[in-house]
């Protein structure tokens, strides 16, 4: 009986673990919309009010939401739209057109997409008929015929707004903002961008039609609020099917957040960037280590996750180089030190290497020049060394000027970690001026 009870408990634990993982994963990597955005109340109210005025009262507006990557622009817009669509009048009337600067890289493609999403008459199934000029004329006519009282408001959402400013003549932006300024169909133009200087990218005629309304999303969280956010992100909600498990889990999470090492890690992450995206990737790596065998989050998980995130990738690459390639890098470092970072070519590096071989080395024997050239080309392929003028050059390969893409500190640290590094190589690296 005990055995069967044990099995049943295991099964229950199994199922509950699955659900907990699913919930946390949805929150951390699927970016499910939260119920209420954290720390963005004033911006939320502002945006909601603006959109309500367009949707319900028929006022035309344009606004830009500006904030660094991962600060929650799309999330904020998603929450606002979700609330807007819950209003009865908005739900019936509002038309939504979503464009993305990464996908619609050209005004032609963008126009076809708008026509498709609005289901205008020149769309059959999926195909849009007509040339660019015809489509544009048709769209503008459709938008101009309306007025405040009788036509449906249209919301244009332009993600990666700064990429639209790179299109030819900024035709699309000009026309959309023009419609939003004149007394025609009520139109709201919402731009989301990560560039703070986005207004400088707009042409004068486009900028003058823009309402210069910007909503900035700069995170103003303090570290204590940040810790609260971490706790909230990791905790299971009260409506979780197994209350016992969720209590235990939440309790362990609270204890974890009070631990010193964990706080140190979170503080370092906070000092690096305050946005939630980097936090999510850290928590995700920690949460994915939770398994049936250890079903609570431990500090070792977070430490390991932090180590994975903060490792220097170039140091990892240097670890796998052969001795000859490492010697070439040390020779380049010496050249950089002697000549203050001026570009060098393969002949100079080979010269330095030969000087080392002749005078100081016991363990490395003399390699032929073509073999050294092959090692140098491997470093070129790994992009640890880069040619100064990256175009096609008429100079011979040995004389083409290059730069080293590593810093003094990185090279020295890599030497410390290098497996079975010969002592004469290390001595050479540490000596000044070769």
């Amino acid at each position: 009986v005990q055995d069967r009870c044990g099995c049943v408990l295991m099964m229950l634990c199994d199922g509950v673990c699955v659900q907990a993982q699913k919930l946390l994963r949805e929150r951390l990597c699927h970016q499910k919309l939260p119920d209420q955005p954290v720390g963005l109340d004033s911006q939320y109210k502002h945006l909601l009010e603006l959109l309500r005025r367009t949707a319900v009262h028929g006022e035309s507006n344009s606004v830009l939401i500006v904030g660094p990557r991962g600060s929650g622009k799309t999330m904020l817009l998603g929450c606002v739209l979700r609330e807007l669509m819950s209003l009865k009048e908005a739900q019936k009337n509002v038309l939504l057109v979503e464009l993305n600067g990464l996908l619609q890289t050209d005004d032609k493609i963008a126009l076809k997409e708008i026509t498709r999403q609005l289901h205008l008459e020149n769309v059959v199934g999926d195909k849009v008929f007509g040339s660019f000029a015809e489509n544009l004329a048709f769209l503008l006519e459709a938008l101009k015929k309306g007025d405040k009282s009788s036509s449906r408001p249209v919301l244009f959402v332009l993600d990666e707004f700064d990429l639209f400013a790179h299109h030819k003549n900024q035709t699309l932006l000009y026309n959309l903002l023009d419609v939003s300024q004149s007394a025609q169909t009520p139109v709201a133009v919402l731009g989301l961008t990560c560039r703070l200087d986005v207004l400088e990218l707009l042409e004068k005629r486009v900028k003058s039609r823009f309402s210069h309304r910007q909503i900035h999303l700069f995170s103003s969280l303090s570290f204590a609020q940040y810790l609260d956010v971490v706790r909230a992100q990791l905790s299971l909600p009260p409506d979780f099917p197994d209350p016992k498990f969720s209590d235990e889990w939440n309790h362990s999470v609270t204890k974890l957040c009070e631990d010193k090492t964990v706080e140190e890690i979170l503080r370092r992450n906070f000092n690096g960037s305050k946005d939630f995206r980097s936090l999510h990737s850290l928590l995700f790596l920690a949460v994915s280590r939770v398994s049936v065998s250890h079903s609570t989050l431990r500090e070792a998980d977070l430490i390991e996750a932090w180590r994975l995130i903060s490792v220097d990738s170039k140091a990892n690459v240097l670890h796998g180089l052969s001795i000859l390639e490492l010697c070439l890098i040390i020779a380049m470092k010496h050249l950089n030190d002697t000549y203050d970072g001026e570009p060098f070519n393969f002949q100079m590096v080979h010269n330095e290497f030969k000087k080392f071989i002749q005078r100081k080395s016991h363990s490395i024997h003399k390699f032929e020049k073509p073999v050294v050239m092959k090692a140098f080309e491997h470093l070129l392929q790994l992009e640890l060394v880069r040619p100064v003028d990256s175009g096609v050059c008429k100079v011979q390969r040995e004389y083409q000027l290059m730069r080293l893409m590593l810093e003094h500190g990185q090279v020295m640290e890599a030497l410390q970690r290098y497996p079975q590094c010969p002592t004469d190589v290390k001595q050479w690296a540490l000596s000044a001026f070769g």
Binding site: D14, C17, V18, Q21, K22, R25, E26, C29, H30, P68, R69, T74, N100, L102, L103, Q104, T105, D106, I109, D126, D162, C194, R277, S278, S281, F284, L285, S288, R289, S291, V292, E304, L308, I309, V311, S313, K314, N316, H319, G320, L321, S322, I323, L324, N345, Q347, M348, N351, F367, E368, P370, V371, K374, A375, Q381, E383, K394, Q396, E398, P419
Partner: protein, 475 residues
């Protein structure tokens, strides 16, 4: 033997080892953390992170591990090599046909844009929704940086754009910092595949290729000898395997002839080591193809010099072309002011001091050849050649054939007809080889030696210079 793999600890999947190759067993079984990490981060039944970036050196098992995970767990995946995708349309076509069948891929218009791809993907996935996470694996992802600028950022957030459970896995040799676009993008999870250690892993993997008619211990000692020669130069598993396979028959020669037993490691080493050194200069550098190398081994009883592919070793030039080339080398690497001293019978002294102080940094030999006008070349040529030569068209046409052979290169525009400028593109070794063939008088050797003196500004190189001069005289 069964391996238990914990996928996020929720399910333990038991893989039957008979289906997997030994290599992947080794990798999955190894205690390296990253492979466990990858398997825990990609979860087929739940949401997984939108994009993952895996980096590591060549032949560390990146594609092999990811593809074998996909195949063994039978996950829906599309594997694309970015080198094959010269246009982004090819990438879209491959992804759509892998997930939704070739009919879906046929719906793509000609020259599809990213917008068409996303729209079609959304349509297809709403018709057949995903029960499991779909994976797109992009091998050699560094090529994607040269395609459309919006392709990489869009693929990194594909999950959000198409609203479907899809993960993009990028595999590359180059670190993530070189990929990041200027205005930033969605940051993927980074995983590193470490390189193999010499003792434990590399010897073990290379020993799997052992020949059935010899013992594994013999092969292991052979591998150790091979690594002793090549490990300090190259750590690429593929190259080492290739070299091991090519040279094993030569290694076993004494055993077949009966000259040595399997335990006489020292004798076998003495036999194979010079052979491996020669391999480093030819097969390793691809100067000789592997077929030619094996041919050489079979008919090599006397030590003949290998015919290498490199043109420089066996190029045949006409008599005056050789002198022209030597004159071009002297013109490129000697500064013009020293011409008077070298080539005139009576000359004055050169003031070396200012010259030395100003150009202390580097010598011409390090900076590369300088361009010279045609007149200077002809002047040096006339003083170097040992007989009287008339300036006929045949001499001048030899200059243009040297340019065609890329031994000289023309500097400046083609339409500069009155005074064309040239540069010498060959190295000192080649010039010395040529001057050996020509009956060269001692004066020429002195000219070359003196050019080395003037160019090497640093005083302490004089001692090495004397040895260089004496070496030249011994030629």
């Amino acid at each position: 033997m069964k391996i238990h793999i914990c996928l996020t600890g929720i399910k333990t999947i038991i893989l039957d080892c008979n289906n997997i190759s030994q290599y992947s067993v080794f990798l999955i079984n190894s205690a390296l953390m990253n492979r466990r990490d990858i398997m825990s981060a990609v979860n087929p039944d739940q949401y997984s992170y939108p994009s993952v970036f895996i980096y590591g050196h060549r032949a560390t098992g990146k594609s092999h591990v990811v593809l074998s995970i996909m195949k063994d767990l039978e996950l829906p995946h599309a594997s694309v090599d970015c080198v094959e995708c010269v246009s982004s349309g090819l990438l879209f076509h491959q992804v759509l046909s892998a997930f939704f069948g070739p009919d879906a891929a046929a719906l793509l218009p000609r020259c599809p844009s990213l917008s068409d791809f996303v729209r079609l993907y959304k349509q297809m996935s709403s018709n057949s929704p995903a029960t499991q996470t779909r994976y797109i694996i992009l091998d050699r992802a560094e090529r994607m940086r040269d395609m459309d600028f919006s392709l990489l950022p869009a693929l990194l957030r594909l999950q959000e754009l198409v609203n479907d459970n899809v993960t993009v896995i990028l595999l590359s040799e180059i670190v993530w910092e070189k990929f990041r676009p200027n205005t930033g993008c969605f940051e993927p999870l980074l995983f590193h595949f470490p390189d193999y250690s010499k003792g434990k892993s590399l010897v073990q993997i290379l020993s799997w290729d052992h020949h059935p008619s010899y013992t594994p211990e013999l092969y292991a000692s052979y591998i150790n000898i091979l690594l002793g020669v090549f490990f300090s130069v190259c750590r690429d598993l593929r190259e080492l395997r290739h070299l091991a396979v090519l040279n094993f028959s030569k290694f076993c020669e004494p055993l077949e002839k009966g000259e040595a037993k399997e335990s006489d490691i020292h004798k076998l080493w003495k036999n194979i080591e010079p052979h491996l050194q020669r391999a480093m200069q030819t097969v390793y550098l691809r100067e000789v193809s592997s077929v030619q190398w094996e041919q050489q081994q079979m008919d090599e009883k006397e030590a003949t010099t290998l015919r290498v592919l490199s043109a420089h070793a066996h190029i045949e030039l006409p008599y005056y072309s050789k002198f022209l080339l030597i004159a071009a080398y002297l013109a490129s690497f000697n500064p013009a002011r020293t011409d008077r001293r070298f080539f005139l019978k009576s000359h004055g002294k050169i003031r070396k001091t200012n010259f030395l102080k100003k150009h202390e940094k580097t010598s011409n030999h390090l900076l590369g050849p300088k361009p010279f006008p045609l007149d200077r070349l002809m002047a040096i040529f006339y003083s170097v050649v040992d007989s009287r030569v008339a300036p006929t068209a045949s001499v001048f046409s030899q200059i243009s054939s040297l340019v065609t052979l890329q031994l000289l290169s023309q500097v400046g525009h083609d339409d500069q007809l009155d005074s064309p400028k040239y540069k010498c593109s060959v190295s000192l070794d080649f010039i010395l080889a040529i001057s050996r063939c020509v009956c060269v008088c001692v004066r020429l050797l002195d000219l070359l030696a003196l050019s080395l003196v003037i160019q090497s500004q640093v005083v302490r190189q004089e001692r090495s210079l004397f040895t260089a001069v004496s070496n030249l005289h011994l030629l």
